[in-house]
Amino acid sequence: MDPKLEPTSASAAHQPVEYVAAENLADALTKLALPGAQPLGGGTELSDRFESGLLSPGRIVDLGRLPYSRIEIGSDGSVQIGALARLRDALESPLLLPRCPAVVDALLASGPVAILNQATVAGALLQSTRCPWFRDRLAPCNRRQPKSGCTAQTGPHREAAIFGATTECGSVHASDLAVALLALDAVVHTAGPQVGAERSLPISALYRLPGVGGSLSETTLAPGELLLGVSVPTTARARRSIFVKAAERGPLSFAQAAVAAAVELDERGFVQSARLTLGGVAPVPWRALAAEQQLLGASLSKERIHIVKRAALAGAQPRRDNRYKVGLAEQLIEQALTALSEREAAHG
């Protein structure tokens, strides 16, 4: 689903909109190739963009009839989550909790029950940033209005990124689910408008840092390209995973900071492999590579966790009003790794 936004005017947002339902994937791709067409899944993200005046589609293409809402085990043993699966269906699936608990944690944190009932996995992954300036149509924002400036870089910046910010954009990525999936090396599957243009890519390649490739689009999806599903490898590491989030109003709010951790331990309790990802701190789900290195070969001792959390935030570039994110993310890393350590001790 193409998250690209066209700058729009308020009056255009109130023009009549054509609703069409796609019968199958080919039909959907054809209809989405038309100018102004936007895909409709659960509608929570789309309606939010409408209300914010960020979108003015001439045509909504309802994807509800497409068969991409199942959650099942694939032939390679991975958990296959359809892009149109509702978050609540994913949350209640018996397949996820034993295989990738971080995904369940992230789903629980993704919103209140009403959102979980309605929103789809695709919408959760492709939602646009909640940067206050992006949604203030009268404020400079390069993502919304190219070359207008980035208010998060020059004005109030409490919610701004401490990693990966560029002069073009200092916003933070909004999806909790993406942070968890990044820690689990998930793969996303897409289909484009060209015949046979289906592809699979690591979820890390789905998101784009601002300005990379000359684009300020938040994802690497091409126009008209649809997200079909996500594969989560069911590794030993995924089974020992966790997601924690700090937000002012819990699931009602977007993350001030979030952490997903996944570790694989050997029989002595030393880390064989690890993933540590951060949310609410960068324009994309952020992988803390230096911290992962600090985990390798070590036990999840208090001392090691301290080293890891410091390593994870060592490269942060906070400013006055978002400096709290550094300490907050460190605390969440400690909380996540300590919980994994305690789980390991409890279950052997």
Binding site: A10, P132, W133, T151, P156, A246, K309, G327, L328
Partner: protein, 584 residues
């Protein structure tokens, strides 16, 4: 002229008026008249666009727009034009589109009290120079008393800028018939005359030309926002000679600026208050001379022999056409009750016992003893289990907390006296009570959960309410005010882009609304009414004071947070970063 309970006279659907709001906090955002060019490009459905600064037609006896639609914006969200359309979405879209066409004026607006204070010393800038500090109250020699006191405390407390959260957006329908204006608005019948006078003043027409129609038997809506909605509707109605309905959006209702309150306290080692110096810096909107009193609560409660309360205003480009009447009380009480809590910990006395020991004998201006306030203290303390709080008094400098834990949360109890202004009463009469809070804090993530909030208020001191229904209604209003107060503890902190004055987060994203599940933690108890007295007067007083019951909620919460974590929050709104200990 007023026909208070009349049915609306016109059943014809009114044209919808939506104001164009200045996206900039100061300067001339657009040349007068240029809206008309913009209007021509707007899609079908827009009836007319009124621009700010349009001169009154010569010889016209109609309304003037000068007070309503500015050509020079002096605050963020100031109406600078009015779009009239058959349908609300059309009008809103057009107003938004026209606002986007406004060009930012040169120069930076003044939106920060702290910054204005810094810039004003020395040399003062003419634009932001503080008006002369006003001495609100003085008794004894506080400076000397504090200098000689065994224990001293000096701290500054800050409240961030906030919108005026109104439960209902003000809506009015205006219809002109010749020179006569009819306004339909849900104003309380008792305030019909006040509304008419204010609308007349805003429009520059005679009050006798105006008829106010209201269907409300009672209303919590303030007159000023209704008057502005009505006057804007009247401008539109006069322009197109059709009924016009206007609902003022929250952003048009002004912004309460940041406040800074400095408290200097002195006490003996035994916990006897010897001196209070309370100095407030508050926003003073351009064009207004009056400041909300922010420090007057000290002498209403405490028997300190040496008190000085002063404040000065800072000119900000935020505007405050609609102020809550308790705004000054609320910020002053936050500072005072937090400072007293700090001093109690410094002295090493239970904060409740510290307050009880320093209460005045009788309320100022009357011989009424404070026995009923002590009852509020007792009732609230019992409700939250105050006696079960850890007995170990600890030094405020000690970071290791003896507070009890529940899972990953530290538990803390805090309280604050409530001082509710009674605006209708001359001489600063107040109603008293107390708030008690029990909070759960995760000091690692800054998370604060409110486990219980008990407010015990003495709203019927001059006799019982007229009926049980009135008592129930009063309690409900008090509860709503407490919830509003709590929401102001949690949200409402505005960050301004210093270049434009724009608020981070379009609309009202900064406001927090509690969920139903969270509301169950809040309990409002009304003290048993005095058995004798004037029921009608007591009812009126109780209802009026109930609307201010949120005063004192904030210090109760931050005092509880301190009891739990040993971290003192001197800033509102309370945010996670305030609790995060440095170094992780």
């Amino acid at each position: 002229m007023a026909d208070q309970n009349a049915k609306p006279s016109s059943t014809k659907r009114p044209v919808i008026g939506v104001p164009i709001l200045s996206p900039f906090a100061a300067g001339r955002p657009v040349a007068p008249g240029s809206f008309d060019a913009g209007a021509a490009r707007i899609a079908l459905g827009v009836v007319a666009v009124l621009a700010g600064g349009r001169p009154k037609r010569s010889g016209s006896a109609g309304p003037s727009s000068t007070l309503l639609l500015a050509s020079d914006a002096t605050y963020l969200g100031q109406p600078v034009g009015l779009v009239l359309a058959e349908e609300r979405p059309r009008a809103q879209a057009a107003a938004q589109e026209l606002a986007e066409k406004l060009v930012q004026p040169a120069g930076s607006p003044s939106t920060s009290t702290s910054r204005a204070v810094r810039q004003a010393e020395p040399p003062p800038r003419e634009r932001d120079r503080d008006p002369r500090p006003q001495l609100a109250e003085k008794r004894g020699s506080p400076a000397n008393a504090i200098a000689e006191a065994e224990l001293k405390l000096k701290q500054t407390y800050r409240t961030a800028g906030t919108r005026s959260p109104l439960a209902e957006l003000p809506t009015a329908i205006a219809t002109f018939a010749g020179p006569h204006l009819t306004v339909q608005a849900d104003v309380a019948p008792a305030q019909v005359d006040e509304l008419r006078e204010r609308v007349a003043q805003l429009l520059g027409i005679a009050a006798v030309q105006i008829e106010i129609q209201t269907r409300a038997r009672w209303s919590t809506q303030s007159v000023e926002p209704l008057a502005r909605a009505a006057a804007l509707a009247a401008l539109g109605a006069h322009e197109i000679q059709r009924p016009v309905e206007v609902t003022l959006p929250m952003a048009a209702l002004g912004t309460l600026g940041e406040t800074l309150q400095t408290l200097t306290l002195g006490a003996t080692k035994d916990g006897e208050l010897r001196g209070i110096l309370h100095h407030g810096v508050v926003q003073l909107p351009r064009g207004e001379a009056a400041m909300p009193a922010s420090g007057l609560v000290a002498s209403a409660l405490y028997a300190c022999p040496n008190v000085e309360v002063s404040q000065h205003g800072v000119r900000l480009d935020l505007g405050a056409p609609v102020r809550r009447g308790d705004a000054g009380f609320e910020v002053g009480l936050f500072a005072l009750e937090t400072a007293l809590d700090e001093l109690a910990w410094l002295v090493g006395i239970d904060p409740l016992r510290f307050r009880t020991g320093n209460l005045i004998e009788a309320e100022p201006g009357s011989a009424r003893p404070l026995g009923r306030l002590k009852k509020c203290y007792e009732q609230g303390a019992q409700a939250v289990g105050w006696s079960l709080r850890p007995q170990t008094e600890r030094s405020p400098t000690a970071r290791s907390s003896p507070a009890r834990r529940e899972g990953r949360y530290l538990v803390g109890l805090g309280m604050a006296s409530a001082v509710l202004p009674l605006e209708s009463q001359p001489g600063g009469r107040v109603i008293l009570g107390a708030h008690f809070a029990r909070v759960l804090c995760d000091e690692k993530t800054g998370e604060v959960r409110l486990a219980r909030l008990v407010s015990v208020l003495d709203l019927f001191r001059d006799g019982g309410p007229a009926s049980e229904a009135v008592a129930l209604r009063t309690q409900k209003r008090a509860r709503k005010a407490v919830v509003d107060g709590l929401e102001r503890v949690l949200g409402g902190g505005l960050s301004f882009d210093l270049r434009t004055g724009r608020v981070a987060g379009a609309g009202d994203a900064s406001l927090v609304h509690l969920r139903a599940s969270e509301l169950s933690t809040i309990e409002v108890q009304l003290l048993e009414p005095e058995p004798t007295g004037d029921g009608a007067k007591a009812t009126a007083q109780g209802l009026a004071a109930a609307d201010h019951a949120g005063c004192g909620v904030a210090p109760a919460i931050v005092n509880a947070v301190y009891a739990a974590t040993g971290i003192r929050c001197r800033e509102l709104p309370l945010r996670p970063e305030h609790l995060l200990r440095s170094g992780g």
